[in-house]
């Protein structure tokens, strides 16, 4: 039982709890916070697995970016103060059953595999390897992802823009034109 084991075990427990509350807690703010906890433990596990770059990326991008945005969204939505948004338990029955079955099946499949030749690996920093990989075999993928990022952002902006009626917009433009002509 090394430190690593205790650490990994703690991460497991925390992650499990976090995931549990993310799924089941009635209050969505609590769920968001629990998600943060869960993903933090995942980051810890990344670290325990020697993926230092990835752990950092997880912390910075995922928790520091995505989850903060989620937190903002949660707080800005009416969920946290409108009482009717507290979850109803009836909705959970079937998904719980199905996901339980999924989990059990996956675990049993996993159990049937012979994992015997596992060994504690050596670790070394992975940043260089990641960097070389990004411009090596995964160069094109990297570019794809960049483009997707671009598209996603532009799309998000467009989707999030308030809708303006065409006539109203035309009227506004007409007004602006008149104003400009007067000025000019």
């Amino acid at each position: 039982m090394t430190i690593a084991d205790i650490f990994v075990g703690a991460c497991f427990i925390l992650g499990a709890f976090g995931a549990f509350f993310t799924a089941f807690h009635p209050n969505i703010l609590y769920a968001a916070i629990s998600l943060i906890l869960s993903l933090l433990s995942v980051a810890g596990l990344y670290g325990a697995l020697g993926a230092d770059f990835l752990a950092a990326a997880q912390l910075i991008i995922y928790i520091g970016g995505i989850l903060i945005v989620i937190l903002f969204a949660v707080m800005m939505s009416e969920d946290i103060y409108k009482k009717r948004f507290f979850e109803g338990a009836k909705k959970y029955i079937w998904p719980t059953i199905f996901s339980g079955i999924v989990f059990v099946t996956l675990t049993r499949v996993m159990m049937q595999v012979d994992w015997s030749n596992g060994s504690t690996p050596d670790f070394e920093p992975t940043s260089r390897a990641m960097g070389w990989a990004l411009v090596g075999p995964y160069a094109v993928t990297f570019q794809y992802v960049a483009i997707i990022l671009l598209f996603g952002l532009i799309g998000a902006v467009i989707i999030a823009r308030p809708a303006i009626k065409m006539k109203q917009r035309a009227a506004e433009i007409a007004v602006e034109d008149n104003t400009e002509e007067k000025d000019a």
């Binding site: 199905f98 079955i101 999924v102 099946t105 499949v109």
Partner: protein
């Protein structure tokens, strides 16, 4: 096909075609088509003469030309079942054809004159055309009967003749008496037909065939030897059944009641049906099946029936005042003679008398028709008198034929009656226990002469007793010509080749006495001896019989002259000498009508039919039919409920309604628009993939 057979088929076919044509377009033909039916029957006569000449040129007792065609063959492997119909031409049928066609043709000619009053009257419903069409149909049926070689087609034609007699007797539809008479005729002959039908069926059941040829062969080969029906020999029962048919059709005792009433029909009808053809059909039948009667031992019964009929009918004829009624009872009596002599054992004599009787009786009826016509349809002889001055053609014809029927030598009736009396005498000589038959035969001979000459004297002699009689005038040529022809044929030279009938002078050579040389049926094995004995006895009895008949005939004529010709004896005084019950019996026709109608029908049949109707009504109709209706209603209700609850409720509303609705509703939740539901479906699919990863 033999050309003779073709002629034979043509003979009934022509009148039948005339019937159909008259039925369809008769009204529109010129003169309403009387020439059509008369022409058809004359053509048939010519064909019959052709056949007769063929028979004459090959004269032999065994001359037979026959052909049959299969009508139905329903045989299976094990059970033969064939119905053949065909034509049989032999001495018997050839002669009969000539007689029937000649009489029918002459009667058609006579009808043209007699039915003149009905000529072309549309308001009358064109009854003139109907009359001739019925005559043609009747003639066609009779001719079909004569040429048929099997009992089946004979029976078919028999029935058609019954129908036609119904139509013709009831021709004067507006008279209730005529309608009753026609119905009576039909019903009475129907009773007889039942016996014939049963006999027919029994023959078919035993032999598998209706043909006469097969019947003769079967009798000869002993098929009937041990056959029994209900313990009685089959041949006896079958023969009796067929004889019952004759009893009905030829008006023998006890079914004679229809013949006198049948005089309600027009006189040509009486001539055709009740002299020449229909009543002789019965005699023809028993001549054809004579071997069966002989074998079955029915002949004694036949003889007694014939004897009773001829004697008692003659007694009735004495008291009749209607000229046609006298002739009707005379016909009954002569038919009795034919049946009697056949029962005694000589069918050829029966046939001889049949032919001669047909000729002179047809003439007598037509002559009486001429008399009636001349008397403006007055039929009562008490109103007549002194007509011999006025009816210059009718009187000689009637006198000649009356002499024929009375048995005056030189006439045909003498020859045939002579033979009858000879055979009866011979038979009684052989079987003295049947002496009553001889009494019947001889007494009737005398009575016949008496009443026939009574008729002559009352009608033609003396002073006219009514206005009609004073102003009577002779009839048209188409009425007296048939009389002349038939009267000419009433001389015995035509039949026996001997002018006086005493057998001294013969002119026909081998065909001498041809009419008695008929041999229509093969001799039954074993009866040879009996027949031989009969022939011998008759031969010995010939002269005594002739003398006796001469005495009786002359006695009868003399008495008739005394009573009615010269008015020496008083008929009234003589009749008072007889006791009252005799008079009453004669007047009521021996109470036969009373018995049949009052006792049998009203007391027996009608109550029975009432009861049957009641049973039918209450039991069958109400309980079974209406009750069944109630059962059906219950069933219908149950079915309705079943339909409502099970079919509609369960199947239509449930399986067809709620089930799909439930299914649909349950499946509808798959697509409730909620994305999470769709996600769940995906998870379920994933789960299923995991679970059934071995299968997929």
């Amino acid at each position: 096909m033999d050309s003779l057979i073709l002629y034979a088929l043509l003979i009934p076919a022509l009148p039948l075609a005339a019937y159909f044509i008259l039925c369809v377009v008769g009204n529109r033909l010129p003169r309403q088509g009387d020439w059509l039916s008369t022409g058809a029957i004359f053509t048939s006569f010519l064909c019959a003469v052709r056949i007769f000449f063929e028979m004459w040129s090959n004269f032999s007792p065994d001359w037979v030309v026959q052909q049959s065609w299969t009508w139905m063959d329903l045989s299976t492997l094990n059970i033969p079942w064939k119905l053949d119909l065909g034509v049989r031409l032999d001495n018997l049928s050839a002669t009969m054809l000539v007689m029937v066609t000649l009489c029918a043709a002459l009667i058609h000619l006579f009808s043209i004159g007699y039915m003149r009053d009905h000529h072309g009257k549309p308001e009358d419903g064109y009854r003139y055309t109907s009359f001739f069409s019925y005559l043609s149909l009747f003639t066609a049926a009779m001719l079909g009967l004569v040429i048929s070689d099997n009992l089946f087609s004979l029976f078919m034609c028999w029935e058609v003749m019954g129908l036609c007699s119904y139509l013709l007797i009831g021709f004067y539809r507006h008279k209730p008496s005529a309608a009753n008479a026609s119905l009576k005729a039909f019903m009475t002959t129907r009773v007889g037909d039942l016996g014939l039908f049963i006999g027919l069926l029994a023959i078919f059941a035993l032999l598998g065939s209706f043909r006469f040829e097969d019947l003769y062969n079967a009798i000869n080969s002993g098929v009937f030897t041990n056959e029994q029906i209900l313990g009685i020999p089959a041949a006896f029962l079958i023969g009796l059944g067929i004889f019952i048919g004759t009893v009905g059709k030829s008006a023998q005792f006890p079914l004679q009641i229809w013949l006198p009433d049948a005089m309600e029909g027009p006189t040509p009808v009486s001539a055709l049906i009740h002299a020449a053809t229909m009543v002789s059909a019965g005699i023809y039948l028993i001549i054809r099946v004579f071997p069966l009667l002989e074998y079955g031992g029915v002949l004694t019964i036949v003889a007694y029936v014939g004897g009773i009929t001829c004697f008692f009918a003659a007694i009735l004829a004495i008291k009749q005042n209607d000229i046609k009624k006298v002739l009707a009872y005379s016909t009954l009596s002569q038919l009795g003679y034919m049946v009697l002599v056949l029962g005694v054992g000589s069918y050829s004599t029966s046939f001889f008398h049949l032919i001669t009787h047909a000729v002179f009786k047809a003439c007598l009826f037509m002559a009486s028709g001429a008399v009636i016509f001349a008397m403006h349809h007055e039929q009562d002889m008490r109103e007549m008198g002194g007509l011999k001055k006025h009816l210059k053609f009718t009187f000689p014809a009637m006198l000649i034929t009356t002499m024929a029927i009375s048995g005056v030598p030189g006439f045909s009736g003498f020859a045939s009656k002579d033979k009858i009396l000879a055979y009866v005498w011979g038979y009684v000589h052989l079987h003295p226990q049947h002496a009553l038959l001889a009494f019947f035969a001889y007494a009737t001979a005398g009575l016949t002469a008496f009443y026939m000459f009574r008729l002559i004297f009352m009608t033609f002699w003396g002073a006219p007793r009514s206005k009609h009689a004073e102003h009577a005038h002779e009839v048209t040529w188409n009425m007296w010509l048939p009389l002349a022809i038939l009267a000419a044929l009433s001389f015995c030279v035509v039949y026996t080749g001997s002018v006086t009938g005493f057998g001294f002078d013969s002119i026909f050579g081998a065909a001498n006495n041809w009419i008695t040389k008929l041999n229509p049926a093969p001799l039954v094995v074993g009866a040879e001896a009996a027949r031989q004995a009969l022939e011998e006895a008759a031969h010995h009895a010939h002269y005594p019989a002739m003398i006796a008949s001469l005495i009786l005939a002359s006695g009868g004529i003399f008495f008739a002259y005394l009573m009615y010709g010269s008015r020496r004896l008083s008929a009234e005084k003589l009749s008072k000498k007889w006791p009252n019950f005799v008079h009453k019996a004669i007047d009521n026709l021996y109470y036969f009508d009373w018995f049949y109608i009052k006792v049998l029908i009203q007391k027996l049949f009608l109550p029975f039919s009432d009861k049957s109707a009641k049973v039918d009504n209450v039991l069958l109709d109400r309980v079974l039919v209406d009750g069944w209706k109630d059962v059906t209603m219950v069933g219908q209700k149950a079915s309705g409920i079943f339909d409502d609850m099970v079919v509609d409720g369960v199947m239509v509303d449930g399986v067809g309604g709620m089930l799909p609705t439930a299914l649909g509703n349950s499946l509808r939740s798959l697509q409730n628009g909620k994305v999470q539901r769709y996600l769940m479906v995906a998870v379920v699919a994933l789960m299923l993939l995991f679970l059934f990863r071995g299968v997929v």
